[in-house]
């Protein structure tokens, strides 16, 4: 086993260094009315060129959220780096509400100190100001952190710009030969890394609550099996395998257990597996299909898809077992792959009818909302701040990723340069 892990590690390292495929490109397809006008001035810096333009990354983050309207660089009336250099009247004249200025300085240890201020153009007050130590390989992340701070300060919502997404890509050569890759990228699609490559299908990536591990399904043994892999070290472990289906892993909020689907007795049921001991407990026991388990954020309930009523619908059960109760009513005859919003109030799911769309359901009021309008939308996943949902959709060249705000007003497409992109899973906040 140890040898196997060592082998896998060395192979993973090999794959990571040889990874292909450019970054995801993001296109805002629909923005919100009344977005806040903000100007991000290029940060002052004297030295050899940096690999990242921090102000540009921040500006793109804010635009991408749909909540902000940023100013084009060539239209900036001035390029101050200190508060003393700011003439607030200039910025009021061009219709800006807020202004971001900053400076980058090289430090003695080879790193950088990134300093920024968020200013209110009308009052002339500083709303936020931080100095963040960074490193050449970390400048993008630092920029995302600054975007998070701006988002939180102005909207009182935790920003999710510094989070990551996991997804699966497929390069298909022919019906028998494809390359499947499990990828991780920043939430804006940059810095993508291959963490596993296989000639057999990979499916259903799921983040651990601390963001350090991914559970997923791999067919490398000619059948589905569930693995848990450490994202940083690449070390991985087979947690559930055997005859029948072994799939659809979902971490419990405490990170110690997985809800999974197994079909030991010829039809799929939900089991709860202790990752350390591998001990399994059967949660549902029905001759219908039970699959796609997801935990409530407080761990009090599990939702899953079952066709016990004829077609697939969403049901809810206690993680301690007991009777399952149906959750989806009057929502058509196809509802699947449900998961909870971070506050536990909503479910997001795939709703089928004439096409397959992403739908949210308010668990308190029972009000549902159709967020997307393409024909083959699937695999929805909430951002950890609950503001957006990422999902897979059919694009011009195959499946690609898209995101939509929970009120449906902001839409973006994230298209990979090559291959098919599917099954996005939005990671937790980075500690």
């Amino acid at each position: 086993m140890k040898l196997l892990i060592t082998l896998i590690l060395s192979l993973c390292a090999c794959v990571a260094s040889a990874q292909t495929g450019g970054p995801l490109t993001i296109r805002i397809t629909q923005g919100v009315e009344g977005a806040l006008p903000i100007a991000v001035v290029p940060f002052e810096y004297a030295g050899p060129p940096l690999p990242q333009d921090i102000a540009q990354v921040i500006s793109t983050d804010l635009t991408r959220s749909g909540r902000f309207r940023t100013m084009d660089r060539e239209d900036l009336p001035a390029r101050p780096a200190d508060v003393a250099q700011v003439n607030f009247k200039d910025w009021r004249t061009v219709g800006m509400d807020n202004l971001v200025i900053g400076r980058i300085t090289a430090t003695a240890d080879g790193g950088y100190l990134v300093e920024f201020r968020l200013l209110d153009v009308f009052t002339g007050k500083q709303l936020a100001g931080f100095q963040i130590p960074s490193h050449v390989s970390n400048l993008r992340l630092t920029a995302h952190h600054i975007s998070d701070i701006i988002f939180k300060t102005l909207l009182n919502i935790d920003g999710a710009f510094s989070t990551r997404i996991a997804y699966v890509t497929v390069d298909r050569k022919d019906a028998k030969n494809s390359t499947y890759r499990l990828m991780i990228a920043d939430a804006d699609g940059y810095d993508s890394k291959t963490i596993l490559e296989s000639p057999q299908p990979l499916m259903s990536p799921a983040w651990s609550p601390d963001g350090n591990r991914l559970a997923y399904v791999s067919f490398e043994d000619r059948n589905s099996a569930i693995y848990v892999q450490d994202v940083r070290s690449g070390q991985r472990e087979k947690v559930v395998s055997g005859i029948g289906i072994n799939s659809s892993p979902a971490f419990a909020p405490d990170g110690s257990r997985l809800a999974v689907t197994r079909s030991l007795e010829g039809n799929p049921d939900i089991y709860v597996v202790d990752i350390a001991s591998k001990q399994q407990r059967r949660l549902t026991s029905h001759e219908a299909i039970d699959t796609e388990a997801a935990w409530a954020p407080d761990g009090s309930a599990i939702v899953f898809t079952s066709d016990r009523g004829g077609g697939p619908q969403i049901y809810q059960v206690s993680p301690n077992g007991g009777d399952a109760k149906r959750v989806t009513f009057n929502l058509g005859n196809y509802n699947s792959r449900a998961s909870y919003s971070p506050d536990g109030r909503h479910l997001v799911m795939v709703n089928g009818g004439s096409g397959f769309r992403i739908v949210t359901l308010d668990l308190k009021t029972g009000v549902s909302r159709t967020l997307t309008g393409s024909s083959l939308d699937e695999s929805p996943s909430f951002a950890p701040n609950g503001s957006m949902i990422i999902y897979a959709t059919m694009g011009a060249r195959g499946t690609e990723l898209a995101a939509v705000s929970i009120d449906g007003t902001v839409k973006q497409r994230l298209a990979l340069q090559q291959g098919q992109v599917r099954e996005p899973a939005w990671g937790p906040f980075r500690k």
């Binding site: 896998i8 192979l11 993973c12 090999c14 794959v15 298909r172 019906a175 028998k176 030969n177 494809s178 596993l196 490559e197 296989s198 000639p199 057999q200 299908p201 990979l202 499916m203 259903s204 791999s218 067919f219 490398e220 043994d221 000619r222 059948n223 589905s224 029948g244 289906i245 799939s247 659809s248 689907t261 079909s263 010829g266 039809n267 799929p268 299909i289 699959t291 796609e292 898809t305 077609g311 697939p312 196809y334 699947s336 792959r337 795939v350 089928g352 397959f356 024909s375 083959l376 699937e378 695999s379 059919m394 599917r422 099954e423």
Partner: protein, 182 residues
């Protein structure tokens, strides 16, 4: 086909398989690809096996085994299904019957049944639908005389489509159970 050529073919096959394996070890992190994935179909393999057990080939290859007789229903290895259904259609009954009879007559023979779904709907639910299709074929085969131990089932859901289109024509080709003889 004379014995020298046959031996040569066997050697080539072994070399091809070995090359495939070492290739895999170098390239794959998830490992585990099978012979089929290196481009050798199970049909070719059983052809050579059958020829070897008889000692000589008959020069055509096709007649060496009833499994490879293009006129036999046994040559049909893919069973198609209707949308959201795991019922074995009327037009595939004779195919299932033929395979069941063959398995009953050759108790040492084993097969894998791979269940597949089209791309509509969620992937995990489709994985379950693919299993349902493979199990439906197995149930029928066992009812008709095969033993359960001869049949391994696996579902690949919508992960291995044959046709790439997003239309009913492609979907119909992708909703299937594939039979492969070991």
């Amino acid at each position: 086909m004379n014995r020298a050529i046959l031996n040569g073919m066997l050697l080539l096959l072994v070399a091809f398989m070995a090359a495939g394996c070492s290739n895999l070890n170098k390239k794959s992190t998830a490992g585990g690809a099978s012979v089929e994935d290196r481009g050798i179909s199970s049909g070719e393999m059983s052809d050579i096996d059958a020829a070897r057990s008889q000692g000589v080939g008959d020069g055509t290859g096709a007649g060496a085994s009833e499994l490879n007789d293009p006129n036999s229903p046994l040559s049909v290895r893919v069973i198609y299904f209707d949308y959201d259904s795991s019922n074995i259609r009327e037009d595939f009954q004779s195919v299932v019957e033929a395979h069941a009879a063959y398995l009953a007559a050759h108790p040492e023979t084993t097969i894998t049944l791979e269940g597949h779904a089209d791309e509509r709907g969620s992937r995990e639910y489709n994985l379950a639908l693919g299993e349902r299709r493979a199990l439906a074929v197995r149930r029928q085969l066992v009812l008709l005389g095969a033993t359960a131990g001869q049949i391994r089932t696996v579902s690949l859901g919508e992960e291995r489509p044959v046709a790439e289109g997003h239309d009913e024509q492609s979907y119909a080709l992708n909703r299937r159970a594939e039979i492969s003889y070991q």
